[in-house]
Symmetry: C2
Amino acid sequence: MKIDVHFEPAASLADRTGSTVVVIDVLRATSSIVEALANGAQGVFPVPSTEEAIRLASSLGREDTILCGEARGLIIEGFDLGNSPREFSAERVAGKRLVMSTTNGTRAFFLVEDAVRVLACSFMNLGAVAAEVMEAASIVVVCAGKEGQFSLDDAVCAGALVQRIRTAAGTDVELNDAAMGAVEMALTFRVNAHFLASTSTGQQLIENGFREDLDICAEIDRHSVVPEMDDRVIQLPSLDAGSSGPTA
Amino acid sequence: MKIDVHFEPAASLADRTGSTVVVIDVLRATSSIVEALANGAQGVFPVPSTEEAIRLASSLGREDTILCGEARGLIIEGFDLGNSPREFSAERVAGKRLVMSTTNGTRAFFLVEDAVRVLACSFMNLGAVAAEVMEAASIVVVCAGKEGQFSLDDAVCAGALVQRIRTAAGTDVELNDAAMGAVEMALTFRVNAHFLASTSTGQQLIENGFREDLDICAEIDRHSVVPEMDDRVIQLPSLDAGSSGPTA
C-alpha cells in the first residue's frame, strides 16, 4: 500500500486514475459535507464559484435545493445557508440537494475528478474513511489548504488519517515526504477547538463569529459516514444516486 | 517578529519587499553553497537552467569560473563539477566563481529576488543564519522542495531554524501554519544521515551513488557562514562584492 499526502491541491494535479483520493477541508467544507449527509441530505454538489452555484441551483430546480457556501469565510448574499456545519441540521437538510460553493474545499474536489474514487474526510468521520480505504493499493490525500497555501488543520487531519490506516494495515505502507511529516504533526498536536483556533483559518473563523464551529469540527468520529463524489455529486453510498441528477 | 514558512517556492510569490528571505535546499544546493563559500569560493551564481549556466560562464570568462550543478540529481555533461558538497574542497574552489545550475534550489532564489535580503541556509549553517536574522521584523523561509512538491528534509531544516530563532527571541514570535507545523517536525525527527536517507530526495541521491553526501548535509553547524545573494551573486559579506560582477 502506498499513501501520498499533498498539502495543497495544485501539487496533486498529476494522474490519479488508479488512486483512491481523499479530500480534506477541515474548516469547513468537508466537515459540513459530513454533517449534512449524516443528517439526511440527498447529496452535495460542490461548485467552484458563486456564479456556478446559482446557475446549478436554477438547473436543478429551487424546490428541494439549498444554496449554501461561503466566500473567504463569509455568507454569500442571497444564499440560503452559509458553510457552518451547525446550520446543516436534519430539520433543514434532510431530503434536500445542497449546492455548495466554498473558497478552497470544493475546488479541491474538481482537481481530482479523474480518480477512481473521491471521498470527503474531516476529523468528524476519520475512522469511517480509514476503514473504507483499507483495501486500496494507492491512496492520495489532498488537503484543500487556504488560498493555495498550507493549512495546519488539514495537514494534521491528513496525518491522523494516515496514522489510522498505517496502524490497521501493519508496517508495509509506503509514505511520501508529506505523509511522513503529516503523521508526526498528527502525533504532536492534540486535536480540539483550541488547536483549531491556533490555525490561520481558525483565527479567521473566530474573527467572523464562527468560534462555535471549531468545537464540532474538532469532534473526532462524530459520524461514521463516508461521503463519495460520483458524477459531480457527493453522496452516501446507500442513497439512490439516480434521483439527484439535474435532468433525471 | 513574524516568521512565515513556505514548503514550496510557488507559494511564496507574494510581495516580499519588506522581508528577509531564507532559502533552504538541504539536498543539496544550499548545503553545497555553504560548503563552497566556507572553503573560499569567491561567489556562487545560481542559474535556473543548464543553458543559462553555459551562457553565464562564457560571459564571466572560463578562467576562474567553475561550471557546476545537477539535473534531477545527476551530473551535467561538460560541467566541471556536480552538486555534491564533497566536491567543493578549498583546493578546487578557493578564489573561484561558481556558476551553479540545480533542479530546485537555484530556482527558489529567483522567485524571491525582490526581498530586502536573501540568505542561503542548510543544516550546515543553521546557527549562523539564526543569529543573523534575529533583528529582522519579518522573516520568510522558502523551502526549495522537489519539483514543486513538499520535501521533508527542507521542512525539518526550516522548523529547526524557526525553533532556534524563537528560542533566542522569546515567545513573541508570530508563526504561520507552515512554520508551526515545521517546528513540530523539527522537534520530532532526529537529524542525521539516516533521517535524510528516509526522504524522497535522499533516496534518489542514494540511487545515484551519493550516499556519503547525506553525512555532510546532516552536519548541523559545520560552518558559521551566512551566504547572501545580492545582484544575482551569492557571497559571504566579508568578501568584496565588486570583484565578482560579470562586467566589473
